[in-house]
Amino acid sequence: MQATSISISQDPAVQYLLRIGDTCLILAQRLSEWCGHGPVLEEDIALSNMALDLVGQARALLTRAGQIEGRGHDEDQLAFLRDERDYVNVTLVELPRGDFAFTMVRNAMVATLLKQLWERLLTSSDTELAAIAGKAVKEARYHQQHAADWVVRLGDGTAESRRRTEAALTTLWRYTPELFVADAVDDAAHAMGLGPRWADLQGAWTEEMAQIFAAASLATPQASAFRSTGRNGVHSEHMGYILAEMQHLQRSFPGGVW
């Protein structure tokens, strides 16, 4: 076994799957940071459950990406032996977990995106991916309901919870345009029937988020010109730290298993 980094195919199908898989994986890592730190025991368990759901989705997607790539990379190698620039998760999920309001606003944003993605992937030309979507869409629906309910409670709650929720929304909103930037990977995946262009989900996503914000009596923030670029492998300064923590064991003890 060796722990040197692997290089990844730039094949659009592989990149398309890795974008979704990495987004699940990195959000799972961030959510798992709540384990033992949840505001109440019940919520602590709920957050860990959702982190595990996302790890499960990431495993299935990375496995499938490895199969399509055809270089013999399995889920573990893809999760632990890539360098930062070869991760293609959206920047939104790598931001530090922040307070509970930040976590819930982000979860609502990502769960809404993933739910819409999975719903469209049910009819993917790749039957394996369609099967993964069949399982994952149920999880994503629950994640969205859970997070959306919290956004409403916090946004329409006390002055303190509202202040924190508004602050979280302002920070996070700047990272949402990235979700819907059209590019060659999206176009190719769309053309081969693998899955939707993320850009085509923007209208439905914005609509669902607006409903949540309205119920929470929160205003949708102003659009900004800033574009994050995690989906292209160019990440925020937080990404290196999260990978160092995630990859430490496999890099130190290559091939180590439980």
Partner: protein
Amino acid sequence: MTTPSSPSTPAADPAMATEWPLWEVFVRSKAGLDHKHCGSLHAADPRMAIQLARDVYTRRQEGTSVWVVRSDQIVASDPGEKSMYFDPAQDKVYRHPTFYVLPESVDHM
């Protein structure tokens, strides 16, 4: 005879001011079976209680249906009256329907 206490409100009970109310959780493991009490949890309202019950008590495939009930809505017998309430049944074996011979066709009633 004890009077069941009325549901406590944050204003009435200082201990409740910083704690979410307690809920009892009942889970049905599969269709046709009854809901069984499996524990309790704290939640702010019914919707949250159902969601957290799902997360806390059904994450290992234990359930197909969940009920939650505010704990302070349950009327319970008084432990102090246990002997008066339940001991008199001890020597009434004739109340069990075991002194009949049932026809074969209904033997599994």
